[in-house]
Symmetry: C2
Subunit: 331 residues, 2 copies
């Protein structure tokens, strides 16, 4: 009997268990060209929170109330009426938040043969790693020797950005919350780490960590991190804006910036981007990333919770700033 | 006897007469290669306010207290010990805020032969027109049929941007303060005009004036104008940030933005720029602009005050938002 998490009401602010319902999906035989997949891993992303709002401002469609949620997953085909898949095939898809995913074969993609664990396709070998790659390499055009500042450097995307920055020969400054996450960011190779939860202003901390200023800023956070990056930006600095997790739970809330005028003084360029806009480069990216993983130049950090029941609590946890690396649920 | 305005103290907030002193400059004979110019027109720019702060954050050097101020001017050579200039030559320079300018010949440039009034070299045919041109044409890469939003559209730079936008076939929305300035912006060719002083929010007003959204935003203002442009931006919108006049008088003051996350949702690119970074294209620009002026496609709007004594009051006036076009002092 297949079970799926449904969105029962729209969170205002932080999401909690009261916004989710675990309900049975009606069992049905496969239609032609459909496949049934038993999921092994499900993905949780902070940006899913945006889709829980009634108005997503065009980001991605809003999740309908009373319907099953969706998201990334990897699993194994257990039944197929498609010529493209056979039982036993490993696949990835966007029909997550459930133990079994059923749908047309177009909704599933076979995992490539790279020698990496299956769940890596939900982070470094997937859209998250690709987001890190696109935002840093393509959008920001970094040069060896430049200083890269990464916010949420202990998170899924940020931890990939830190490591790619080091591979490119940059000096990398990462920010993360708490001693433990900061130690993890340093282990990933960051030259300096800022604990944003420690006393002091972000600007003072960034000035100390990046004495030569910031050439590239990879933003997952917005707010005081963005303002500090503006305050410390060097001439012709490039800012790649991937997300602003601080804004997801209260989108109407304002963000106060004191140093925006420096975009003129320092000719800063700020660009919002989304990995999937560059999907033509996805295959090349995966080959490159698999090599970095194989050589040990990119390491993965995961936070794993077990069982479908764990989904809502694991999702809420991500907004406390204590989750290291990629949040995954293992079934 | 040459007179010059000196900065007597640093304004906090709005500049007033108490911050300026009109004092004699010691008369001295010309050294070799020097020229003496009697000024006919002096330029006043809001951005001069930045240089009156002790810390200009690298924008341009701070004006020293007790020293003569500088700025744009045009005039006539009345004495020359340079082989490059003869009495009667019309020149422009950056040794303004005074009736006579003396300096090495490298500080002066002969006015070209274009059939425009001398003072145009202080606005449309000078750095201001060039700023409009660079920010719109080079930085924002506009296309015919796109919607252009210009803040401070009744000002020196904005009025040039409006007209260049129309020449490029764009739909132009300008914002200005008050019925009179709005009428002027419409006369310059804007398709829609927003009175930012009228009741209602900037977002509502911009939504009404730009029903198809904003593709290019030319910002002279920051603050609620920038936030509204973010809120109404179309996919792949380009923002050229020329200045943020609202920030000049209180640079430490924050700017609250509610819609910055849309840089990701709409893949917006925000670039700060300064005209003089592109000085290699300056001659081409002047030829082009002179043709637009000759054909009547670009019209100039000036606010003229008479006499050197008028400088401080004319400068302060610019921060009231009531000045139309380029503020000039005629000697």
């Amino acid at each position: 009997m297949a079970l799926a998490w449904h969105l029962s009401s729209r969170p205002q602010g932080r999401p909690g268990p009261e916004h989710f319902d675990l309900r049975e999906l009606g069992a049905r035989p496969l239609a032609e060209d459909e496949v049934r997949v038993r999921n092994g891993w499900l993905s949780l992303d902070p940006a899913m929170r945006i889709r829980m709002n009634a108005d997503t401002d065009g980001y991605q469609p809003s999740f309908p109330i009373g319907e099953p949620l969706t998201g990334g997953g990897v699993g194994e085909v257990i039944e197929s009426r498609s010529a493209k898949f056979a039982p036993g095939d490993k696949v990835q898809h966007m029909v997550g938040w459930r133990d079994e995913s059923v749908g047309p074969d177009t909704a599933f993609t076979k995992l490539p043969d790279y020698p990496v664990p299956d769940q890596y396709y939900l982070h470094h070998m997937g859209v998250i790693g690709f987001t890190a790659y696109v935002g840093l390499v393509k959008e920001a055009q970094p040069k060896a020797g430049e200083t890269l500042f990464v916010s949420a450097a202990g998170g899924a995307t940020g931890s990939a950005v830190v490591q790619i920055g080091k591979i490119l020969g940059m000096r990398v400054v990462g920010s993360a919350g708490g001693v433990e996450k900061c130690a993890m960011v340093r282990e990933l190779g960051a030259d300096a780490v800022i604990d944003y939860k420690a006393p002091g202003t972000m600007i003072d901390k960034l000035a100390a960590a990046a004495p030569e200023g910031v050439d590239v800023y990879f933003d997952n956070v917005g707010g005081d991190h963005l303002d500090a990056a503006l305050a410390l930006a060097n001439m012709h600095a490039r800012f790649s804006i991937s997300g602003m997790v601080g804004a997801y739970n209260g989108m109407a809330q304002g963000m106060e910036l004191h140093h925006l005028m420096r975009v003129v003084y320092r000719r800063i360029s700020i660009k919002g981007f989304i990995g999937r806009d560059n999907i033509a480069n996805y295959a090349d990216f995966r080959r490159q990333m698999s090599e970095w993983i194989a050589s040990g130049q990119v390491k993965s950090r995961e936070t794993v919770r077990d069982g479908l029941e764990a989904m809502p609590a694991a999702f809420a946890e991500m907004f406390d700033g204590r989750v290291s690396g990629k949040m995954l649920v293992r079934l």
